[in-house]
């Protein structure tokens, strides 16, 4: 199992008396595009935040290239630099321009020189179509544009895995498409991605594995064809039915 980037064993998370994640097991191989679907409150986002150590899991282990990152001596910032994250609420730095947003991490965390970082950032800003807006501040651009900048910011760090926490949920319907198409292009370029999403079409068409979570456990997982056309568990059938109706 040494080639898998992330391996999660028996992961649990409790907030007070509320058990949000129960005994989660799954692995992420290089090149995987995994969609995590499920109803609100099923623990999808918490799982993603645990993987990025934004939440500290209560028990279990997360192996990153075979090394457990939940032990006490782990350098969390150094680990996070390898695991990018895109948030539902974008979280762009409001005190910087679009370009500075994509440069600051490279300069301060990866210690690249400013010129190199700038060129690298521009490469990704072009890929997400935000190159003309490099001088704008986050408050001046639309939600979809912010999310595309956030993706470029995460990509500019050259992460091994990119985590998406409901990247389109805070967007107006007409902006969802532009973000999804950027993500699709990213997936096709071979990026390893973990996407928590309510966009079933994206989960079906782009990912190579779909994980359905319910009540803090992984209820069912498999290839998109398998999960969407021939779900095995009654909960999955129920969830997908509800989605079709909406």
């Amino acid at each position: 199992m040494s080639e898998s980037i992330l391996q999660i064993n028996h992961l649990s998370k409790t907030f007070g008396t509320n058990q949000v994640l129960r005994d989660i097991d799954f692995t992420v191989e290089a090149g995987d595009v995994i969609s995590i679907i499920g109803a609100s409150g099923s623990g999808k986002s918490t799982l993603l935040r645990c993987i990025n150590l934004l939440e500290t899991p209560t028990s279990g282990e997360i192996l990153y290239h075979g090394r457990n990152i939940l032990t006490r001596g782990t350098n969390a910032p150094a680990y996070r630099a390898h695991v990018g994250m895109v948030f539902q609420s974008f979280n762009l730095f409001n005190n910087m321009t679009v370009l500075e947003n994509c440069v600051v991490g490279q300069v301060r965390v990866l210690r690249r020189n400013r010129e190199e970082a700038r060129t690298h950032a521009m490469e990704y800003l072009e890929r997400v179509g935000m190159a003309p807006y490099i001088n704008a501040r986050p408050r001046q651009i639309s939600g979809g544009q912010k999310q595309r900048v956030a993706i470029a910011r995460a990509m500019a760090m050259d992460p091994e895995v990119l985590l998406f926490d409901e990247p389109t949920s805070a967007l107006d319907p007409e902006m969802v498409g532009e973000v999804l198409s950027v993500m699709k292009a990213l997936a096709e370029s071979g990026m390893t991605m973990l996407v928590v999403t309510h966009e079933m079409a994206f989960a079906r068409d782009v990912s190579n594995r779909v994980v359905y979570m319910n009540g803090g456990v992984i209820c069912e997982q498999g290839s998109p064809e398998q999960l969407f056309t021939n779900p095995q568990r009654p909960e999955t059938v129920d969830f997908l039915m509800r989605f079709r109706k909406n």
């Binding site: 600051v104 704008a136 760090m157």
Partner: protein, 315 residues
């Protein structure tokens, strides 16, 4: 009316004799207030940052102990210097230092003593303001910074503090204006500020009211000027509300999106690739429809045939 004329005459008389003293008093007051506020802000920022270092139960016990200790020390500092009058702090430090060290250590100049007192006093207020400023920045900003691998110090210096600074600018302005006025208590240790000039002038001339009028006008001018400058500074920090689109470099337009429907891009429905795939899809649907139709016809024919066979059987 002639009272006003008399006041004007008295002020003129005072100014002729003590004008230079008043002006140098104003200068000293402004320098002391400015330096005190700046150093106080630095103290406040350091305290605010130390106060907000996060720690969790999984951290090393020694780290937790030290962070806890730092918080307690800062708390005591804030409560003591916020809870006692500055005039007493000045006396306490200025005379207390030589008292405790048998005159081996003392403030060599009244300037040093005044700056120290004003700085630590302002620092105590600013520590709480900075803490508030840091809390007021959206937690998402911290998460965004953490997610790209920044440490606490990097997050603070690059992302949180610049925003917190902007948020507490009004508070810093408040402190500066308060310092302009409150440095007047420094006459207690013999600091030559604007108010000390008043005391010197009335000691000799007994013109209390005219001198007080000069003082009132002087302090008001300083504070009004200060608030005007602070407003201007705040506006400058916010930056211009417009931004320039970069359009000289055509390369940058290779990856446009729906925002540029008149230009081609990989994510655009006008992109030849996308058009091709849409055409393919349309073709596939058409073929499917035709196949389905043919299938339907075939079934119909079969049914008709079996029907006629049945009829034939009856016959």
């Amino acid at each position: 009316m002639n009272k006003f004329a008399q006041l004007a005459a008295d002020i003129a008389k005072l100014w002729a004799k003590y004008g230079a003293a008043y002006l140098s008093g104003i200068e000293n007051t402004l320098i002391l207030a400015l330096v005190g506020t700046v150093i106080g802000c630095v103290i406040g920022f350091v305290c605010g940052v130390l106060n907000t270092i996060p720690y969790s139960k999984s951290d090393h016990p020694l780290k937790r102990f030290f962070l806890g200790l730092i918080r307690v020390v800062i708390r005591i500092y804030v409560e003591v210097f916020r809870g006692t009058p500055m005039v007493l702090q000045a006396v306490f430090l200025y005379y207390g230092l030589p008292y405790f060290t048998n005159n081996s250590m003392k403030f060599t100049s009244v300037w040093a003593a005044a700056i120290v007192v004003v700085s630590i006093n302002t620092g105590a207020y600013m520590a709480e303001s900075v803490r508030g400023g840091i809390i007021s920045v959206d937690p998402g900003q911290t998460e965004g910074a953490k997610a790209i691998g920044m440490t606490h110090v990097q997050t603070m210096t690059s992302v949180i503090l610049p925003q917190a600074l902007r948020n507490i600018m009004p508070q810093i302005g408040n402190n500066f204006i308060i310092n302009v006025k409150d440095t007047s208590v420094m006459f207690i240790i013999g600091f030559p500020d604007f108010f000390a000039a008043h005391r010197a002038a009335v000691g000799a001339s007994y013109l209390y009211f005219p001198s007080a009028t000069v003082e009132m006008a002087g302090y008001l001018t300083m504070t009004l000027l200060a608030s005007f400058l602070l407003r201007w500074l705040e506006k400058k920090m916010d930056g211009s509300s417009s931004y320039e689109l970069v359009q000289v470099d055509q390369l940058t337009m290779t990856a446009g999106t729906y925002s540029f429907p008149d230009r081609s891009s990989p994510f655009d429905e006008r992109n030849p690739e996308a058009v091709k795939s849409m055409q393919r899809e349309a073709l596939r649907r058409q073929v499917e429809r035709e196949v389905a139709e043919r299938e339907g016809q075939r079934l119909n024919e079969q049914r008709r045939e079996s029907h006629s066979v049945q009829k034939g059987g009856e016959r």
